[in-house]
């Protein structure tokens, strides 16, 4: 039988015809033909499908129709199929197959009933179907079994290992900036403990946010969203990172650092994550979360929270705002649809103002550093160019409020922080110098070297 395409007058909108074929390629089972009629640019086009010629015909049709009606091979299983006809945007053709129904997008109830007919017809049919047509959808179904060789990669993504590395680097900077002789073991313990705590916090955050992450483009490939790991395993991993991490900090470093670490985990998972969906105050809480790690580094070295720790925390706190506000500017649609209360969506003016305000605050805080004897006066001078640059970008963002200025500000913030911390470290006031007030600094690098001697 010819797989002919027939054009009908544009009266009938959508219809479905099923009939038997006498001479079939499959002996016992009658081949069922499905005819689906479409309105495509005011022309009614009929498609016929043979089971065995399905793919061939589809490609032929596609060429003729110039992409107007691509057969949609959705691999959505029965629970979800009743929602298909709600999508009016694309028009496509559906095949019957018991394993993978391809759904039609078109008009309402008539096609819905017809789909039901199709489904029941398909189910009674014996599944003698060529493998080729379904393999694409089938391949997208993944077994939910944990494979041990995938596990490190999955856990790395679960714990947001890159972000954790950044957090650990801010902690080490806090440790290094403390005006005490450098101790390697303490440094390593503090870094490891903070890293473990950060992994735990990130895992719990992902555990809480599975359906929201699936709906946002930035986060839809996370392990829990993709089902690569079960929620139970994510929680166990978080516990097995968090508990040793905090224990390491409390027992191996000092209780204050451990307390700060535990508080930070609590703040991130139990305050920031739920607050994201309730109020814009989450950004400020999140900034505190980011400010605590360098303070932890400082307290790990000195054992007390003094002005230096607060200053470092303050610098990181201020940095969070241009970083996050610029990032969130481009994600407004996803945040709005996902139900996240972010300044960029609800108070865009405030969003940009706060970003600019904190860029300027960075300049001020850098100037306070020498006053507190943390760094020499070279620090605010050397850091002035980069601080001015980020403030300039912050100002552009405030004034222009468009995607390009937000991206510029965001990418600037990514290199601004490491550079600022590096400059701060090289301008650090030597411990020996502090003890011996008479000496003048011979050079920032030399002073840095002196501190490293145990």
């Amino acid at each position: 039988m010819s797989a002919a395409r027939r054009c009908r007058p544009p009266r009938a909108l959508t219809g479905l015809f099923v009939w038997r074929l006498r001479n079939t390629s499959v002996p016992q089972i009658p081949c069922r033909f499905v005819h689906l009629y479409h309105m495509a640019n005011k022309r009614l086009i009929t498609f016929q499908y043979f089971n065995f010629l399905k793919r061939m015909y589809v490609t032929q049709c596609n060429k003729d129709l110039s992409q107007q009606a691509k057969p949609k091979t959705d691999s959505i299983v029965s629970p979800f199929h009743e929602l298909q006809q709600l999508d009016q945007e694309k028009k496509s053709v559906h095949n019957i197959s018991p394993v993978s129904p391809v759904h039609q997008l078109g008009s309402e109830t008539s096609s819905r009933n017809e789909l039901r007919e199709m489904k029941s017809a398909a189910e009674t049919e014996d599944s003698v179907i060529p493998v080729g047509a379904e393999s694409k959808e089938d391949r997208q179904w993944k077994e939910m079994k944990l494979r041990l060789d995938d596990l490190p990669g999955i856990l790395a993504r679960l714990s947001k290992i890159k972000l954790t590395a950044l957090v650990v680097s801010t902690t080490s900077t806090g440790f290094a900036m403390a005006p005490v002789p450098f101790e390697l073991t303490c440094f390593l313990l503090a870094s490891l403990g903070t890293g473990l705590a950060s992994c735990a916090a990130n895992s719990i955050n992902q555990f809480f946010e599975v359906p929201f992450d699936s709906n946002m483009n930035r986060t839809k490939n996370r392990p829990l969203v993709r089902g690569q790991i079960s929620p139970l395993l994510a929680v166990c991993f978080a516990a097995s990172c968090g508990i040793p991490g905090i224990a390491l900090l409390t027992l191996g470093v000092n209780p204050l650092t451990g307390a700060l670490g535990a508080f930070n985990i609590f703040l991130y998972t139990c305050c920031y994550t739920p607050l994201k969906r309730m109020s814009i105050a989450n950004t400020w809480v999140g900034a505190v979360v980011g400010a605590i790690p360098p303070m932890m580094g400082w307290t790990a070295a000195t054992g007390s929270l003094d002005a230096g720790a607060l200053l470092l925390g303050g610098i990181l706190y201020s940095w969070q705002f241009p970083h996050f506000n610029a990032l969130s500017w481009g994600l407004r649609e996803d945040y709005s649809r996902g139900g996240y209360c972010m300044m960029s969506v609800t108070h865009p003016e405030l969003c940009r103002r706060v970003a600019l305000r904190h860029c300027l605050a960075l300049i001020g805080l850098s100037a306070v550093a020498p006053v507190l004897d943390i760094t020499t006066w070279t620090f605010p001078i050397v850091s002035l160019p980069i601080n001015l640059y980020i403030s300039y970008l912050g100002f552009r963002f405030y004034r222009d409020a468009n995607r390009s200025s937000s991206r510029k500000l965001f990418f600037c913030s990514l290199w601004h922080l490491p550079m600022l911390l590096l400059v701060m470290f090289t301008c650090k006031k030597s411990v020996l110098e502090n003890e011996d007030k008479g000496d003048l600094p011979r050079g920032s690098h030399e002073t840095a070297m002196e501190i490293r001697l145990p």
Binding site: W141, P231, P274, R332, G339
Partner: protein
């Protein structure tokens, strides 16, 4: 998913809800606890699917309406000469995003509460099932050793 498989299978994201559907494996000797877990997961999946499919559809529809009304106000047509769909830039859309978020705020609060409760319950049940299975395995090993 193949019939002989003994594990759950997860599929590609659903078109409407962006959630990935899971087909749960029902073992022949499923205990009551395991059945409760499976049913809780199925129920959560169905509820999430309902919410997000509805929500995303509402978003799309309202977005279209907004674009249409704004274009009309500006005196433009929905499609310009080349047949392309006219869109508004991000600043104009910002009003819509803000509006949509505040309109659905209460709905989201309710959904959050439900989701957190379900998530905790499912994870707790998973923990119980895992514990029971581990104990059963240990007991079996002990029996084998004794024999």
């Amino acid at each position: 998913p193949p019939a002989h498989s003994h594990s759950d299978w997860i599929g590609p994201p659903d078109k409407h809800s962006n959630l990935r559907p899971v087909i749960f494996y029902v073992p022949p000797e499923e205990s009551a606890l395991e059945r409760r877990l499976r049913e809780a997961r199925q129920e959560a999946q169905a509820s999430n699917q309902r919410f997000w499919a509805w929500h995303n559809r509402a978003f799309r529809q309202e977005k279209e309406e907004f674009i249409y009304s704004r274009l009309k106000a500006k005196g433009l047509e929905v499609r310009d000469e080349s047949g392309q769909k006219a869109t508004l830039n991000a600043e104009e859309m910002a009003d819509f995003y803000k509006d949509f978020l505040s309109k659905n705020f209460k709905k989201h609060l309710q959904y959050n509460r439900d989701w957190y409760k379900r998530n905790f319950r499912i994870t707790f049940l998973m923990g119980q099932v895992a514990l029971v299975r581990a104990l059963r395995w240990l007991r079996r090993r002990k029996k084998n050793v004794e024999q």
